[in-house]
Each structure stands twice: as structure tokens, then as C-alpha cells.
């Protein structure tokens, strides 16, 4: 259950899909549909690379930690539980800004910079960098979930843990494929945005309970296996 939730949290995060929707919209406004499609794939590749790098790096660090630092590791699990509780509260009160929009907690100066980058991007490498960069701002919420699941995976067989990491990496970019699919089915940014606004309470609810459950599960893990 912890592993599935850790996989679902990046799926429900709203920043990267928001950046991607805006990026696709501006690409459609500046170029042909074909070129916008190509650019969107580059963006997804960038996001995928970033996720893969983070998952594998944290997996490697988890191995180093659990095999080189003598136990008990219960304090590590309790710290992680504390972080999850803080994240549950943050999701409830700070993740979305007030108002009928999907504006997130990220400072306006940063989002304005990203929007300026979205407007200016021209080459494929620009799109790849934008995709990778946008994942960076969500790490504050996704990183603890990745840390706890890779910590659990260090006890699994190599094949099953590699398979799980591969599925998680794919899952984290699935929302981008959904947004891309919506654009390709002739839905526009306004329609996509209205749906994102409508599902705001649902996303908040899912993330809040996921983080709370992760906190409880992490305390249990610390007490029994730490």
C-alpha cells in the first residue's frame, strides 16, 4: 500500500501537468499542430529523464544508507512520518492558492519566469530542459514519498524493485500523456483548465489522505522494522 501511494502522489501533483498544458497551448499558438506535438514529446522526455534520475539516485542512496549505516533506523522513519504530516497539512492549506484557478504554492516570480520560458522556447532541447526543470519545483512534495518507497524497495529482490521503479517513472508522466491526448482530441486549454479547477477538491482530498496514510505507515515501519 505504501508503495502504491508513493507511486500515486507524483501522479496527482498538479504543477507539471499545468506547465505542460500551458506549454502545449503556446506551442499550438506559435506553430503547427504537428510541431506542437513534437515539442510536447520532447517536454515529456525531459520530465521522464528527470523522474528517472531522481528515482534511481534516491534508490542508490537508500542502498548506501541501509547497508552502511548500522541500525536501528527507527529515527529515520519517524522523521519521514513528521515530514508526511507536514505535507498533509501543507496540501490542505497551501498547495493551491485561493480563487477559482489552479495557481499553486510556487512563488509568483518563479511561475512568471517559467511562463516567460514557455513563451520563448523554440528548440527541442529547450522543451526537454523545461520538462525536466518543472519537475524540480514539485520535489518538495514528491521527494519524501520517493525516499520512503526506495527505502522499502531495498528489501525487495532486484527484479521486483527495478520493475516497481520503472512503473513509478512511467506513472509520474502519465498525466502529461492524458493532457496531450486531450489536446489531440481537439480539447482546448480552457476546457482542460475547467476540468482541473473542478477536480481541485478531489486532488486535495486524495493527497491529504495519502500523506496521512504514509505518515501512519511510516511510524508503523519505524516501530516494527526500524
Amino acid at each position: 500500500m505504501v508503495l502504491i501511494l508513493a507511486m500515486l502522489i507524483p501522479f496527482f501533483m498538479q504543477f507539471v501537468p499545468g506547465v505542460f498544458a500551458l506549454f502545449y497551448h503556446y506551442s499550438l499558438g506559435k506553430t503547427t499542430t504537428q510541431k506542437a506535438d513534437d515539442k510536447s514529446l520532447s517536454f515529456i522526455i525531459g520530465a521522464e529523464f528527470f523522474n528517472a534520475a531522481i528515482w534511481l539516485l534516491i534508490y542508490f542512496l537508500a542502498f548506501l544508507f541501509f547497508y552502511n549505516v548500522p541500525g536501528p533506523h527507527d529515527i529515520f522513519f519517524y522523521i519521514m512520518a513528521g515530514i508526511f504530516i507536514a505535507e498533509a497539512i501543507a496540501v490542505l492549506f497551501f498547495y493551491y492558492r485561493k480563487g477559482k484557478s489552479t495557481a499553486l504554492f510556487i512563488p509568483r516570480s518563479i511561475t512568471n519566469g517559467i511562463i516567460a520560458n514557455i513563451k520563448k522556447n523554440k528548440t527541442r532541447s529547450d522543451c526537454i530542459v523545461l520538462g525536466a526543470m518543472s519537475g524540480l519545483f514539485e520535489l518538495i512534495f514528491t521527494l519524501p514519498a520517493i525516499i520512503i518507497s526506495t527505502s522499502i524497495l531495498t528489501n525487495f529482490e532486484t527484479f521486483s524493485s527495478t520493475l516497481f521503479i520503472a512503473i513509478s517513472i512511467v506513472m509520474s508522466v502519465l498525466p502529461l500523456f492524458i493532457v496531450r491526448g486531450a489536446f489531440r482530441l481537439n480539447h482546448n486549454l480552457a476546457e482542460i483548465e475547467r476540468v482541473r479547477v473542478k477536480i481541485k477538491p478531489f486532488v486535495k482530498f486524495i493527497l491529504f489522505f495519502s500523506f496521512l496514510f504514509l505518515a501512519a505507515a511510516t511510524i508503523y515501519l519505524g516501530a516494527h522494522y526500524g
Partner: protein, 79 residues
């Protein structure tokens, strides 16, 4: 509204219209009428904020295309 502002507004509105799949001819008419109504509303005013300008544009665009107005209104609050 000076010429430079109008030119950049027209460029931005054209970009959004194309992205929303509004045919060029219709987009041109919507934009012309919108800018005309904004110009009329601004007559005699010496100070105007960008929020006022956005509100006037959105109000006018809503008459022609709701999606166009919605995207223009929320363009900075999507992320």
C-alpha cells in the same frame, strides 16, 4: 492605449486564438472589436492598470467566445 501596447496585445490575442482553434477570420474580427471597445472604454482616462486592461478585454471577449475570454483571463494563474 499607445500603439506599442495595442500591437503587443493584438499579437498575444492572436496567439491564444490560434491555440484555441478559432478560425483566422473570426479571430481577427473578435480582436478588432475587442480592441475597439477597450479603446472606447479608455477614452479620457490617464491612468490604467494592467488588471483594468485585462478586465476590459475579458469583458469584451466574453461576448464573442467564452473559451477565448477564459484563457486570456487565467493565462497567468494556470500554474
Amino acid at each position: 492605449m499607445d500603439e506599442k501596447t495595442e500591437k503587443s496585445l493584438r499579437r498575444e490575442l492572436k496567439l491564444h486564438a490560434k491555440a484555441l482553434g478559432i478560425p483566422d477570420g473570426s479571430a481577427e474580427i473578435f480582436i478588432d472589436k475587442t480592441l475597439e471597445s477597450v479603446r472606447k472604454s479608455l477614452k479620457g482616462k490617464s491612468i490604467i492598470t494592467s488588471a483594468d486592461l485585462t478586465r476590459l478585454i475579458v469583458k469584451s471577449l466574453e461576448k464573442y467566445n467564452k473559451d477565448f475570454a477564459y484563457v486570456y483571463q487565467n493565462r497567468d494563474t494556470i500554474i
